[in-house]
């Protein structure tokens, strides 16, 4: 377990970097938060006034100190639009976003990995072509556009999907009792099948449109790593030892693919957290992304910065999880420390 501690310590520089950069963005850049807070009707005097109450007239190091103290107390400021503390707002909406992103990731991984493995075992076969097509398409299509295309095709044309207006049709259903905040899981816990069905129905399109883009890099690296593994010396040894094909494919080749796959997960998460914003906007999903977009439109300064900080923290944690996963998969990584 020592290596887990080591990795944990390793995230400290990233966390410091995140805090410093977020501070820098919100306090040191030429944009004027005081003007935002004062609103459109403000005059120079009222802006000055707000500047003083926000402490924006003090020297930067002092501001930074206050910023860090505030952060340590979980104080991200107050949202102009909701009137609540930003942290409360974010925590309230985070489960919805995590639900969406997790389903997207689950979808991506459960398609991409078998696809990559299959493509590698049958180069130039139909799965291989499909794999390449997905990679090309996902590199050229904006996520929000794909989300909208799906809505047009599956809601309007085919009528398979429910109206893309949030997490649950709240006219027909009431949300399940709050446990985790993810409707699907809460409905499952409550044993409320109609709500589970309804919330899954709302979830499928946004999760797939988001997942499609996480799918491509995972499939590509799985295919490449699997090809390399299958051509490697130790697979030849396994075949020379008469191990069954299944064991060679799964225990020998596939496990060696997990390390390269985990190395693209960082990029995949970066992408998921960013595109989440766009997809939530498209599907009216009431998560932190949609919250950030309304904050952007309303120039709700503290809310946006709080959102950025939270996503960065989440991203650092996800990268930590990936690191630990890599260490568990590959003893060599553990050794290098």
């Amino acid at each position: 377990m020592a290596f887990v501690w080591k990795r944990l310590l390793g995230t400290i520089p990233s966390l410091i970097g995140v805090v410093v950069l977020t501070f820098f963005i919100s306090h040191a850049l030429p944009g004027d938060p005081a003007a935002y807070f004062a609103g459109p009707a403000a005059n120079a005097a009222s802006i000055e006034n707000i500047r003083a109450t926000l402490g924006l007239d003090r020297p930067l190091p002092v501001q930074f100190l206050h910023y860090v103290i505030d952060l340590a107390q979980g104080n991200l400021g107050r949202s102009l639009t909701t009137g609540q503390p930003v942290l409360t707002d974010l925590i309230e909406r985070l489960p919805a976003s995590l639900e969406l992103s997790s389903f997207a990731l689950l979808f991506a991984i459960s398609i991409a990995i078998p696809m990559g493995v299959w493509a590698a075992t049958r180069i130039n076969g139909s799965v291989d072509h499909a794999c390449r097509a997905v990679v090309t398409v996902s590199a050229a299509f904006p996520t929000f556009f794909v989300g909208l295309l799906f809505v047009y095709v599956f809601y309007f044309l085919l009528g398979w999907a429910p109206q893309p207006l949030g997490r649950l049709n709240e006219i027909a259903f009431s949300p399940p009792p709050h446990v985790t905040g993810a409707y699907t899981i809460d409905a499952l816990i409550a044993g409320d099948w109609p709500v589970l069905r309804a919330s899954l129905a709302q979830l499928i399109l946004p999760a797939i449109s988001l997942g499609l883009f996480a799918l491509a890099p995972i499939a590509r690296i799985t295919r490449a790593a699997m090809l390399e593994a299958l051509g490697s010396d130790f697979i030849r040894t396994a075949r020379a030892s008469g191990l069954p094909a299944r064991k060679i494919l799964m225990t020998y080749a596939f496990r060696n693919v997990l390390l390269p796959v985990s190395s693209v997960l960082g990029m995949v998460f970066s992408f998921l957290l960013g595109s989440n914003v766009l997809i939530e906007q498209v599907f009216g999903w009431q998560g932190v992304g949609a919250y950030a977009v309304s904050a952007v439109i309303a120039s709700d300064y503290a809310a946006v910065q709080g959102f950025v900080l939270m996503m960065a923290m989440l991203y650092v944690l996800l990268n930590l999880a990936v690191d630990i996963f890599a260490t568990l998969v590959d003893p060599r990584v553990r050794f290098e420390g």
Partner: protein, 320 residues
């Protein structure tokens, strides 16, 4: 009858750039407990011979003629599943670069257990003990602890011993060692070769030792076959081959082989290079590099010359 018998074997590779005639009429046999060396430059077809015996050739390979039997079983007629069951149990193979030949993220003990589980029919609770016993048999000190190691924690020599332990875990009757000591330092090389020889002798295993180092083959083999461009050009007992090489190529190989007291700069490299195996080839594939070549060498089919019952050479004008 020999334990392993390769008879008149020809193998081609269909590639995008033409058909590579990698093996042509190769015949070779190994008796029980015998160590037979296959020697030749890189690219002469040694590995292809080994892979064909093991049934490990890639899909581009086509066996155009010949027969291979092991203990009376027709290997070329065997179904893939039957071949898989023979591999690891009745015939085993070890390779060069042992450190990459082992799965980098699986404990070496586990890798041996995998083979035992597949072939030895042991209950799973006995697998670990059997794997450790296999490691002990190849004289790995502290086998319990080594079983827990990953390949990257072991030296090249130690990895090769693990490979040998794995290959011999199910006491196969045939072992093919393809350049087992290439890349190891000289001392380790000797240790590994001694081990292979001892194991062959003690279990009466038929061993095919593939190497480009005639010196090494001379030290450990009972008989040696010299291979050039997909042909076996000479087969003889080790003593006869080293003392009375009959094929011009064998003589050049010998000249290029460092004896212990030779220095690197004395080494004669073999002049010329292997012919392209894709084009039209003369009956004697060595003729392009041969000093003794006569017009007839390129005209008529090339007969085997029998110098003694155990010493045959594929040359019209063998050295005497």
């Amino acid at each position: 009858m020999a334990q392993l018998d390769i008879d008149n074997l020809s193998v081609e590779f269909r590639t995008r750039h033409g058909v590579v005639r990698a093996l042509d009429s190769v015949s070779l046999s190994v008796s029980r407990g015998e160590i037979v060396g296959v020697v030749g430059e890189s690219g002469s077809g040694k590995s292809v011979t080994a892979y064909t015996v093991m049934g490990l050739n890639d899909e581009a390979a086509q066996i155009t003629k010949g027969n291979i039997t092991m203990g009376g079983i027709d290997l070329l007629a065997a179904r893939p599943e039957a071949m898989r069951e023979l591999r690891g149990r009745e015939m085993a193979m070890i390779f060069q670069s042992p450190r990459t030949a082992l799965n980098p993220i699986r404990k070496v003990g586990k890798q041996i257990e995998d083979v035992l589980q597949e072939h030895a029919g042991l209950p799973s609770r006995d697998l670990r003990k059997a794997a450790i016993a296999a490691l002990a048999r190849v004289r790995i000190p502290d086998p319990e602890r080594r079983a827990e190691a990953y390949p990257f924690e072991l030296s090249g020599g130690m990895c090769q011993r693990v490979m040998i332990a794995m290959a011999l875990a199910c006491t196969p009757s045939v072992l093919i060692a393809d350049e087992p000591t290439t890349g190891l330092d000289v001392t380790t090389q000797a240790v590994i070769m001694d081990l292979i020889r001892d194991m062959s002798r003690s279990t009466r295993m038929s061993t095919l030792l593939i190497t480009h180092d005639l010196g090494l083959a001379g030290e450990y083999c009972d008989r040696i076959a010299v291979m050039h461009a997909g042909h076996i050009v000479e087969i003889a007992s080790t003593e006869a081959l080293l003392e009375r090489p009959a094929h011009p190529y064998t003589r050049q190989l010998l000249a290029a082989t460092p004896v212990p007291e030779s220095r690197l700069d004395d080494l004669n490299s073999i002049p010329g290079h292997l012919p392209d195996l894709r084009g039209a080839l003369p009956p004697c594939r060595f003729s392009g590099r041969c000093e003794r070549r006569q017009p007839i060498c390129d005209e008529a089919a090339l007969p085997w010359t029998e110098l003694s019952p155990a010493h045959v050479v594929r040359c019209r004008f063998p050295l005497s």
